[in-house]
């Protein structure tokens, strides 16, 4: 190529050359614009790119389950509702508004519950189409497509079940795309949707017996029947509910464990009794730096409910009256609630620590002469506080009674010891004992009292480790041990009240009790709580009237009556803010 000295260029020649050059410059810009502007994301992928293999479609459904791995959703919303509202349990710390039924619509965890449940619903709604396409394209086998579709129906139905149970009617979103401005449906419409989703799931899911062991934790036909029956009960359709509960998918495949204490044991997760539980596993740090708060596999927060003296937390504790209410001989008592002078009965904890006395904090506290860790006999304490000095916590604001159902993971130490705070224990949402009690209620409702009594007895016999007390006619003798204030009691003879009492003693501190009480009808729950605790209009804690914790001081026990309308929770303010078509529940 010849070097051109520009100074030698003629004007004309220069012009021609420059214009030609300039035109040449313009060409690439005009020519490849279309490609130039079409960029693709390389950080995440479109649906087409995402679902080309069978396991990708499975992963899509896995993400629906993932929405439930949330402490705010499970504990601070469903568990709080199921238990704090019954006054069997109280909060210590930031959430004490629950103790006086003054929860407001800004309570943060309610938003998490609402949001996660709707995200799960939306993921299910999106999954239907994607699974169908994958099935058409041969990406998944028809059998797998059915199972995955069934799981999506199940999880959508279950989400609506807890939403409606907690808030009353909620918006029904059933399409893959929505602007999210749908107003609330009625509570009945939502439970009707639960029934319909569970019926779909019953057809599509696999039976528990057909589920490969590597897939344990997925929804099964039995679980779908369980939720369908419960939803039918909300609708007052007891006959239909009975049909669901009597399905052989339930009655053949699920059984009560022989020992009640094992139901909540760490080494009995996904047991023969469990219909559906939220799965957790250790995947990283078990301390604060892990993903414990929302979405992490790794962690559950059971030790938050242990006494402050052991865990450094003590964020929830029991009403002493719950302990007194257990009938003599009921093995469920110490497997549910422990207080001053009570030893832990968890086989797992005893095996690992030898009981309370094995925890590092107890041993070092005892060695240092800390009164808290010295038993009434002068030896190292092995009970949940001593009768002479109950464990009221660092600031003396707890009742001295704590949850034994959530004190099972032997790996945890709370904020003390090795500071293993977050565990991996599954959370059982529905188990066979509840199905039996639900069935008993259905039978009461449909006039089959002997059948109801038989179901009650089945559950109670296990609780008594063989045979439970019966009256002269052979009917279960249901009678609380003592009243909350230490008075003698009378047998409960009304069949419905007998069922409610069994719900309480079997299922308290799990994920059902208040739901079952509210389901029984308007005013039933408030009356039941009033009967148990003689509640009144006070809004502040009161000294406890009876027992080792009755020292005349305040130890965090409230006697507030359940106000009308507060048997459901407020729709989260955030949700109303984003969807003005939502109307708040009356009374909030």
């Amino acid at each position: 190529m010849r070097m051109i000295n520009i100074k030698d260029m003629k004007m004309n020649k220069k012009n021609i050359t420059l214009i030609a050059l300039f035109s040449a410059l313009l060409i690439p810009i005009g020519g490849c614009q279309k490609n130039f502007l079409s960029q693709n994301s390389t950080k995440s992928a479109t649906a087409d790119a995402s679902f080309q293999k069978s396991q990708d479609v499975v992963a899509l459904v896995n993400s629906i389950y993932d929405g439930y791995q949330s402490s705010d959703l499970l504990k601070k919303s469903i568990w709080y509702y199921a238990n704090f509202l019954t006054h069997d349990w109280y909060n210590d710390g930031a959430d004490i508004a629950w103790n006086s039924y003054t929860i407001n619509s800004n309570f943060g965890a309610l938003s998490v519950f609402w949001n996660n449940a709707y995200v799960a619903i939306a993921r299910a709604n999106q999954a239907f189409g994607i699974i169908a396409t994958a099935k058409t394209n041969g990406v998944v086998t028809p059998a797998l497509a059915d199972r995955l579709t069934g799981e999506a129906y199940f999880l959508r139905g279950m989400s609506y079940y807890y939403l409606a149970g907690t808030f009353g009617g909620v918006p029904l979103e059933l399409n893959a795309v929505t602007d999210g401005l749908t107003p609330r449906s009625s509570q009945d419409q939502v439970f009707q949707q639960v029934v319909s989703d569970m019926e779909q799931a019953e057809k599509l899911l696999v039976s528990k017996t057909a589920l490969p062991s590597t897939e344990i934790g997925r929804a099964t036909k039995g679980a779908a029947y369980g939720y369908e029956g419960a939803a039918q009960m909300w609708l007052g359709k007891y006959t239909e509910a009975l049909a669901a509960f009597n399905n052989t998918e339930l009655t053949n495949n699920y059984h009560l464990l022989p020992n009640f204490v094992d139901v909540n044991e760490f080494d009995h997760q996904n047991s023969d009794e469990s219909l559906f539980e939220i799965q957790f596993s250790i995947q990283g740090s078990q301390s604060w730096d892990g993903g414990w708060q929302s979405g992490g596999e790794i962690a559950w927060i059971d030790d938050f409910s242990w006494p402050w003296e052991i865990s450094g937390f003590g964020y929830d504790y029991a009403n002493p009256g719950l302990s007194y209410s257990y009938q003599a001989g009921d093995t469920r008592k110490l497997a549910t609630i422990v207080g001053p002078g009570d030893q832990l009965v968890s086989p797992g904890i005893i095996a690992k620590w030898g009981g309370i006395k094995g925890y590092a904090v107890v041993q070092s506290g005892f060695a240092a002469g800390n009164q808290k860790y010295i038993g009434d006999d002068g030896n190292i304490i092995n009970t949940c506080g001593a009768l002479s000095h109950p464990w009221f916590g660092d600031d003396l604001t707890r009742s001295g009674y704590y949850c034994a159902k959530k004190w099972r993971d032997p790996n945890l130490t709370g904020a003390n010891g090795t500071s293993t705070i977050f565990g991996s224990q599954n959370q059982i949402l529905l188990r066979y004992a509840e199905i039996l009690l639900d069935r008993a209620e259905c039978k009461v409702r449909t006039g089959d009292i002997p059948g109801a009594m038989a179901d009650l007895k089945t559950v109670r016999d296990r609780a008594w480790g063989g045979s439970s007390p019966v009256d002269g006619t052979g009917k279960p003798l249901v009678q609380d041990g003592l009243t909350y204030d230490g008075k003698p009691t009378q047998p409960i003879t009304d069949p419905l009240q007998m069922v409610l009492s069994e719900y309480r003693h079997e299922l308290t501190a799990e994920y059902s009790l208040m739901y079952n009480l509210r389901r029984a009808g308007p005013g039933v729950a408030a009356a039941f709580i009033h009967t148990n605790y003689n509640t009144n209009s006070s809004l502040l804690p009161q000294p406890y009237p009876y027992g080792p914790t009755a020292d005349g001081k305040l130890h965090g026990v409230w006697f507030t009556s359940l106000p009308a309308g507060h048997d459901i929770l407020p729709i989260p303010q955030n949700a109303i803010g984003l969807n003005p078509n939502l109307k708040q529940n009356p009374g909030y």
């Binding site: 260029m9 401005l181 344990i216 790794i298």
Partner: protein, 1074 residues
């Protein structure tokens, strides 16, 4: 060769002709000598050095002497031309006179200065659009770190706020109001030497290198930048070499910064006393104190503000060499800036290199090259949002570290709070963290741009311009293992804190290629100018960051994470590790026409294609038009002496905004989420039996919904203005009215969870900004020794949300800033019909008396509510208004509490010089805005916000808080569990008047006398002293009322959450020119 010949010939011909003419004229006018004096028309003082030239006469050229006198040979028909730099050239017919005195009028420099507009320049007097300009001289008056700080108060309609005073600056620039609610959605487009910056901070440009800043405000001016222009365009031109001679300059200053003001809080003794009082008063016995506090007079003081604040020091040096000849001009400079901040651990260092090279080998071809490099090293370990904590931390560490109860004992021991006492266990010692954690944040910025321009025929030019920007940001954070608590308190105090290490590396590469053609020509009274072109720009960004627990505190290598020996699980977590590409392809044109320099019209259009949008919505077309009438040049005003200039202009146009949204927001995208063990994972474990752990299966979920219709935001802008000049140009006035309507503004907004997503990027609604801008400048030379001037800018902007496309009537605060405390998730709400970011909360009616509380509860109970406010509300608690009238207090009673948007803001600049002295005073003020004093809400709560604990309070609150014996209607009772009563909810009690007037700068300079510096072979030496932030007139109770947009989001404006405080600077500096 041929061309060379032509030039040579031409020169010869001209030379010969001139010689001939000279000969002929000298023959003609040999008979006369004309003398006279040239004086300044304004001051009457003689002007030395004025060029006097004889036209159509002998052609001699001479200069006036020191007294302004001249003597020149000329005949009666000769015309004398008097020319002097800075003055209007005058021609005088000699006639019969032999003495001709002339008064020269100072030229109105402002009107003739060159203004840089998009893809060209124009004289200010010919502008049809709205452009504010700030000169190098103005920037030089204030020692600033970043150039945007220098613009504060200098340009009407441009609101510059120092959001905080951290080193390196945290400045928000808002041109003509808030158009977008998106984070970073209101940033203007910066164009540096013709290069629109897509990546890298504007604080990489050394203010000392800047020759001028031109701020394009109305659509007429900005439309040529199309989809990026809605927030205005700031055009930065750096200093170039001049054609004549060489100039070497050195500038430097040292600024001493005082410690900031401190909040007056309780000392350790008072704090312990208060805690004891609270414990005694707590009948429920729920609150206890640390045993050390039982004897308050014995506690060791921990003065956190004193420990963390310190005097600051800034040093800045710049050396520049600029010069050239007719063909080659070069400017190089080196800048060094080093600021030690007033908060422990904070600093900002910057080295900048700059080269501008202009080369014109032949008259028809020239090239221009600019290269800029900046290296920044900065750190701000304890900044805005954290600093409030200093006032809140319990002021004693007693009972914690058994080795020392001092904050730091100087031997490597740091006090800590007692880990077993719940109420303080969770606090950290910030001094320990600052001094023991390691940080590094390095930013590099390189911009180079070259153009080649050819003149084809007179007025017709073609130009190609190519450039690249390369940025790199890298750094790490590492904290050591900390086993101090466990060592002293055993396992009960928790476990050893593991070491932590995180590292990031973000790079970007951006290229630009533009080709333009322009034509400027005057035909008689008709002048046209045209520019058209095409442009492509492509930005590739790469990110890499990760964090882990290293095996020990020394390891700083992400490939060596700690791995759990039992599970084999690695602690490494990678975030945002990937590449993103964005592209922009554009065509644009501007055509201007004027008739007789009196009637002007300009039309501009740009078509932009952006990869941020779906193929069917990729292109936007942005037109604008403007007209201008120079009334002064009409016959009826031409001779009006007092009016130097008068023109009217108006424009209308459409411009776009796409800036604030990330790429690919139009697409439904699926992600596998983070690894298991993180909150952001999407998978789930299955196959778990008994006590086994289960097997994690991955998850995939949609992370954003499809929104194929997503498009850019369009701003529709109307501008009407008048420019006038009086007193021979001494006084200029610009009055401007604008109406900016931002439609389809973009926001990644929270959507109902029912959609399945937390947020979605939407074209959300429309916003209006209307306003008036006033600029007045006065400059007057009284005599040779004394000149003074004043400049005032005032801006009135009325901002309003007009509509939201769907769903709600309001938008709550969005973006990054979170305020801790019960009920504080929402603290602003932007409602339709109201300005952006209005504060939102409860209306405080004062403090409950016993009677008021009883009455309120009784009335509430009559309506069926258990109580009016809260279960635990007692006399002494804050009394909130039942604004919705339903009988009790709920979240629905929250209401608008005032707007953070000022009614007006402005700057007043006063300049004077007397002999060798120069003076500058600059005030900046805003009026009519409100501030949310969140920090005050912290100082009026004994309870820590967000968790169980207690914190320090202000002296004022301690003294004035409600007690039964000393009731107050302003300050609530002190209570360790405020969460249960909500006295510190967002309420009108925390809203304060945010108006202020600040003396930003006061400078006195002295230029050494010429005869002295001549001996030093220096042409000019100026030394100066300056002070910044000397005083602020305000009623605001907090540290500093200058609080702008927090978290770069307009819905969080004016929130004082413990910002990095400002303090006084005392600067001493010099400017030397060799």
């Amino acid at each position: 060769m041929i061309r060379k010949l032509q030039i040579k010939n031409f020169v010869v011909v001209i030379g010969v002709s001139l010689s001939l003419m000279l000969l002929s004229f000298s023959g003609y006018a040999q008979n006369g000598t004309v003398t006279g004096t040239v004086t300044d028309a304004a001051s009457g003082l003689p002007l030395p050095g004025v060029t006097v030239k004889v036209l159509n006469g002998p052609g001699t050229t001479i200069s006036t002497d020191a007294n302004g006198n001249y003597s020149i040979k000329a005949g009666p028909t000769s015309k004398l031309v008097f020319a002097f730099v800075g003055y209007t050239t005058q021609e005088v017919q000699v006639g019969n006179r032999n003495k001709v005195d002339v008064k020269l009028t100072e030229e109105n420099k402002t009107l003739n200065e060159l203004v840089v507009i998009g893809y060209g320049t124009a004289k200010r007097k010919d502008l049809t659009g709205s452009i504010s300009s700030v000169s190098a001289a103005t920037i030089a008056k204030v020692p600033v770190t970043t150039l945007d700080q220098a613009l504060q108060g200098r340009a009407a309609g441009v609101q510059i706020t120092n959001n905080d005073a951290s080193p390196g600056g945290n400045v928000s620039v808002m041109i003509r109001g808030v158009g977008s609610l998106a984070t970073n959605g209101n940033n203007p487009l910066y164009v540096v030497d013709g290069y629109p910056i897509e990546s890298g901070g504007i604080n990489s440009i050394n203010p000392n290198d800047i020759a001028s800043i031109d701020i394009l405000k109305d659509a007429s001016a900005t439309a040529i930048y199309g989809i990026r222009a809605a927030n205005g365009v700031v055009i930065i031109t750096t200093k170039k070499g001049k054609k004549d001679g060489v100039q070497l300059s050195a500038d430097g200053y040292t600024a001493f910064q005082t410690r900031p003001k401190e909040y007056k809080v309780l000392n350790g003794q008072q704090f312990a006393t208060l805690a004891l009082q609270q414990a005694t008063a707590d009948s429920a016995k729920q609150f206890t104190v640390l045993s050390n506090w039982n004897n308050p007079s014995s506690v060791t003081e921990a003065d956190w503000q004193n420990a963390v604040y310190r005097p600051g020091l800034t040093q800045s040096y710049n050396v520049g060499l600029r010069g050239g000849n007719d063909k080659l001009q070069a400017a190089t400079s080196i800048g060094y800036y080093n600021q030690k901040g007033i908060v422990l651990g904070s600093y900002f260092k910057r080295v900048t290199l700059n080269l501008n090279l202009d080369y014109q080998p032949v008259s028809w071809l020239k090239s221009s090259t600019s290269a800029k490099y900046a290296y920044q090293d900065s750190n701000n370990p304890f900044g805005t949002g954290s600093l409030g904590q200093l006032a809140q931390l319990p002021p004693t560490l007693d009972g914690g570290n058994k080795v020392t109860s001092q904050i730091s004992d100087g031997n490597g021991n740091y006090g800590f709070f007692n880990p077993l006492y719940t109420y303080i266990a969770k606090y950290n010692n910030p001094v320990y963290n600052i001094e023991n954690n390691r940080y590094s944040n390095i930013n590099q910025f390189f911009l180079t741009n070259s153009s080649l321009e050819a003149t084809i025929i007179s007025g017709l030019k073609i130009k190609t311009n190519a450039g690249v920007t390369v940025t790199g940001a890298n750094g790490y954070y590492s904290s050591p293992e900390d086993d101090r608590l466990v060592n002293q308190y055993g396992n009960q105090a928790g476990s050893t804190q593991n070491p932590f290490f995180s590292q990031y590396l973000n790079t970007s590469f951006d290229w630009l290629w533009e080709n333009t053609i322009s034509y400027d020509k005057t035909f008689g009274k008709h002048t046209i100018n045209f520019v058209g072109g095409v442009s492509e720009q492509k930005l590739t960004s790469n990110g890499f960051s990760g964090s882990m627990r290293p095996a020990n505190g020394t390891v700083q290598d992400l490939s060596h994470p700690y791995i759990d020996p039992t599970t084999g699980i690695s602690t490494l977590i990678l975030n945002s590790t990937g590449q993103e590409i964005g592209t922009l392809a554009s065509q644009f044109a501007r055509l201007g026409y004027n008739y007789d320099s009196r009637y002007y019209i300009t039309g501009t259009i740009r078509r932009d294609g952006s990869s941020k949008f779906n193929a069917s919505h990729q292109y936007g077309v942005f037109p604008s038009g403007s007209a201008m009438w120079k009334a002064k040049d009409e016959f009826f005003l031409k001779d009006v002496d007092w009016l130097t200039d008068l023109k009217f202009r108006g424009s209308y146009g459409e411009v776009g905004n796409q800036g604030a949204i990330p790429y690919f927001q139009y697409n439904a995208l699926y992600s596998t989420g983070l690894p298991p063990g993180n909150s952001g994972n999407l998978g789930y474990p299955f196959g778990k039996t008994g006590g086994s752990n289960g097997i994690y299966q991955g998850g995939v979920a949609a992370i954003q919904p499809a929104y194929p219709g997503l498009k850019w935001e369009t701003d529709y802008q109307t501008d009407v203005a008048m420019d006038a000049a009086f007193l021979h140009g001494d006084l200029t006035l610009t009055v401007e009215w604008f109406n900016r309507k931002s439609k389809d503004f973009l926001l990644n907004i929270a959507v109902p969870a029912q959609t399945g997503f937390a947020t979605e990027t939407q074209n959300l609604g429309s916003m209006s900004n209307k306003g008036w801008e006033f600029t007045v400048n006065y400059n007057h030379s009284v005599n040779r020794d004394f000149r003074f001037g004043a400049g005032l800018t005032l801006s009135f902007i009325q901002n309003k949300l007009i509509s939201l496309t769907k769903g709600t009537n309001f938008i709550t605060n969005t973006g990054g800033v979170g305020l801790a405390g019960n009920g504080w998730s929402t603290f602003t709400e932007t409602n339709i019909g109201q300005p952006v970011g209005e504060f939102y909360g409860y209306k405080s009616l004062g403090i409950f008396t016993d009677a008021q509380l009883n009455a309120a509860n009784t009335a509430a109970q009559a309506k069926g509510f258990p109580f009016y406010q809260q279960a635990a509300t007692a006399p002494g608690d804050r009394y909130y208004a039942d604004t919705n009238g339903d009988g009790h207090i709920t979240a629905d009673d929250q209401t608008s509490l005032g707007s953070p948007q000022p009614k007006f803001f402005g700057g007043l600049n006063l300049d004077a010089s007397y002999k060798s002295w120069d003076f500058n005073v600059f005030f900046y003020g805003v009026y009519g805005n409100k501030i949310l004093n969140y920090e005050e809400s912290n100082l009026e709560t004994f309870q820590n916000r967000g968790f169980v604990g207690i914190e320090n309070i202000s002296q004022e609150y301690y003294a004035k808080a409600w007690t039964s014996s000393n009731p107050s209607n302003e300050f609530a009772r002190i209570y360790y569990n405020d969460n249960s009563i909500g006295n510190a909810y967002p309420s009108s009690h925390w809203i304060e008047n945010g108006s202020f007037l600040k003396l930003k700068t006061l400078t006195v300079g002295y230029t050494l006398p010429a005869d002295l510096i001549k001996k030093l072979a220096v042409s000019k030496i100026r030394i100066y002293v300056s002070t910044q932030n000397l005083f602020t007139i305000t009623s605001y109770k907090g540290m500093d009322p200058e609080i702008g947009v927090q978290g770069s989001n307009a819905t969080q404006t004016g929130v004082d959450n413990g910002t990095y405080p400002s303090s006084k600077y005392y600067t001493i500096g010099f400017n030397v020119t060799f």
